[in-house]
């Protein structure tokens, strides 16, 4: 049986294709932005760089271990959840 290995980390180009595919799936067109123009409020280059950062941060979030028994008590994590202590039964 084949043993799982950690896949190679995706390249920027691979992530860009993923990001553009995701936007296209949602019906969002970013081609109306300039490709690269530091003077423009936003351009495709900066947008994709930010998107790659978000994707890579998902890995950091996954790496942070939180007790799976830490149940979110309600839709809004409002201040009164402060009285539900981590170590309370």
């Amino acid at each position: 049986m084949q043993v799982p290995t950690t896949p190679a980390s995706p390249t920027d180009e691979e992530l860009d294709r993923y990001i553009l595919t995701r936007y296209a799936l949602m019906g969002i067109d970013i081609s109306v932005l300039p490709e690269s123009d530091p003077d423009a409020p936003m351009d495709q280059r900066r947008l994709l760089a930010n998107g790659r950062s978000i994707l890579r941060q998902d890995v950091e979030a996954a790496d942070f271990t939180i007790d799976p028994q830490l149940h979110l008590p309600q839709l809004y994590p409002a201040p009164f959840t402060a009285w539900v202590d981590e170590d309370e039964e």
Partner: protein
């Protein structure tokens, strides 16, 4: 046992003074509250469309709010009156609501252009004067009659455009007032206009769709480099420049206390859910807050009192403990030197104080020295931060990538260029995975619990360099001015402020500390010079 139940010095200042609200709220209360909310949701009563003003909770504005006596002949300019003073003079008949409104309209027409517009949409002079003559929904004795107020331009107003500082909402005309605006108007407040704001509640106010700044800081109108603070930029400039008595901003990440400290104001972002967000353009459903902005602690308390009402249209506001008397909390009392209303332990954030010789460091040391001399205050020194604090407050666990994306899909499909420089914040949330998003919510809850049990077991309020840890957790935070300093980049004299945070429902603690400080200092009374015309 939680840290809330371990505090050694909980007590009252005198035999007639009840303790503050951050003490008695307990785990038992929490469980009862959740049972009530669940029951209300099941029966559909949470979704009633009854107007918020019809179901007030907590005390109305009380006598303490009228405490600052002033003679009309001592006031050369009605725009210099504080909210409390204005209320007092209207109630005793010294001035008419119309007089107050007219004075502010005169000033707006004279100076708003010189500030590169603190205001976005504004009613006409005739409309405002007519509103000042009308009896408000709260009746002829409504406390805010004639008080000129400025809500940020993300609060829905049925009579004014609500554009959120952005091309996305250009030309948007709501058909109802947001709950906060409804409550202010019912109390007699007059909306002088909408405060310019950063693009979709981020950054300083700019020309829509560009990175060209508009609104200037009231202290440096001639210098574009010194920011008015964002994103409640116009609200802050209007208040500091005496073009409004007070106002309301919103804070998802520092957007009330940021402009507040930048312009020498006293502002409060209360505990999450304390003020309804119904009728506010959303950014994050877990982090958005409405925050009163004013010139001193008592004025901020009065506005908070008016706005802290349960709202059937915003379930986040329901079932919370009854709002206490905030004006009382903001009224120091006793002896030659006023004391805080309750014994209060003041903590200092790690690194907040230093031996550096720069202006802001000196002002912080002065602040702490002043608080140390305040009767009722116990300085507990530098606090230790909760476990994993850095991890839990930094991206990605401390972030909120996915929140705004969900509300804006239709606009993103329409044209991404409408979002200008804020596009990544709104578009890239769809790249955050669901598992990561759940982890973020868990981390936020973890941090909230640890802030309460590991930080606020050391102190009741904490001086902090930033509101960051208080935004995602929904904990209350406020700012007040502590002096003036020379800005390094521009060389101009600018105000500096302190930020103080508290445990859940600890608004009274913060107001009491700020009020005691303001009783012996004058920074909150300083007024910026009129701009050159």
């Amino acid at each position: 046992m939680s840290g809330r139940e371990e505090r050694p010095d909980e007590g009252v200042a005198g035999p007639d003074q009840p303790g503050p609200l951050d003490g008695p709220v307990s785990r038992r209360w929490f469980l009862n509250r959740m049972a009530w909310v669940s029951s209300a949701a099941a029966t559909g009563t949470l979704l009633s469309r009854a107007p918020a003003v019809a179901s007030p909770g907590g005390p109305v504005v009380t006598e303490e709010a009228f405490g600052q006596a002033v003679r009309i002949q001592d006031v050369g300019d009605l725009t210099e009156l504080t909210l409390s003073q204005s209320m007092t003079l209207v109630r005793n008949g010294s001035i008419r609501p119309r007089d107050l409104v007219e004075a502010h309209v005169d000033r707006i027409e004279a100076f708003d252009a010189e500030f590169y517009r603190a205001y976005a949409a504004r009613p006409t002079r005739e409309e405002l004067l007519a509103e000042a003559e009308r009896v408000p929904a709260g009746g002829p004795d409504a406390p805010l009659r004639g008080i000129g107020l400025v809500p940020k331009d993300n609060f829905y107003t049925a009579d004014l455009l609500t554009e959120g500082g952005s091309l996305v909402f250009e030309g948007f005309q709501p058909d109802y007032d947001g709950t906060a605006v409804t409550l202010m108007r019912a109390a007699g407040g007059v909306v002088l206009g909408k405060g310019q704001m950063g693009n979709l509640a981020g950054g300083r106010a700019q020309v829509y769709g560009t990175t060209t700044p508009t609104t200037r800081n009231a202290w440096t109108p001639e210098d574009v480099r010194y920011s008015p603070g964002g994103s409640s930029s116009g609200v802050a400039t209007a208040i500091a420049a005496r073009m409004a008595v007070a106002g309301v901003g919103t804070q998802t990440g520092g957007s009330v206390v940021g402009p507040g400290t930048a312009q020498g104001l006293t502002c409060i972002k209360p505990t999450f859910g304390r003020i309804s967000l119904h009728g506010v353009i959303p950014l994050s459903h877990t982090r958005d807050h409405v925050g009163p902005m004013a010139r001193n602690a008592l004025d901020a308390a009065i506005l908070l009192q008016v706005l802290a009402q349960p709202d059937p249209m915003d379930p986040r506001t329901l079932g919370l403990p009854r709002p206490p008397n905030y004006a009382l909390a903001a009224t120091p009392f006793g002896g030659e030197r006023p004391r805080v209303r309750w014994p209060t332990r003041v903590g200092v954030w790690p690194g907040y104080l230093s031996d550096d010789d720069d202006g802001e460091s000196r002002l912080r040391r002065d602040l702490v020295a002043e608080l140390e001399r305040t009767p009722g205050v116990t300085l507990v020194g530098e606090v230790s931060l909760p476990d994993d604090f850095d991890v839990l407050t930094s991206s990605p666990l401390g972030g909120s990538h996915g929140d705004p994306t969900a509300f804006f899909i239709e606009h993103l499909r329409r044209d991404v260029r409408l979002f200008g420089d804020r596009l990544p914040r709104f578009l890239n949330g769809m790249l955050q995975s669901a598992d990561s998003y759940v982890k973020v919510q868990q981390a936020r809850q973890l941090l909230l619990g640890r802030m309460t049990s590991q930080l606020f077991n050391q102190c009741d309020v904490v001086l902090t360099p930033s509101s960051g840890a208080f935004d995602g957790t929904g904990l209350p935070v406020m700012c007040f001015p502590i002096g003036f300093d020379t800005d390094e980049e521009t060389g101009r004299r600018v105000p500096r402020g302190a930020i103080v945070g508290a445990a859940p429902f600890g608004e009274e603690r913060m107001l009491a500390v700020a009020a005691a400080y303001q009783a012996v200092t004058n920074f909150h009374r300083e007024r910026p010079a009129d701009p050159m015309r």
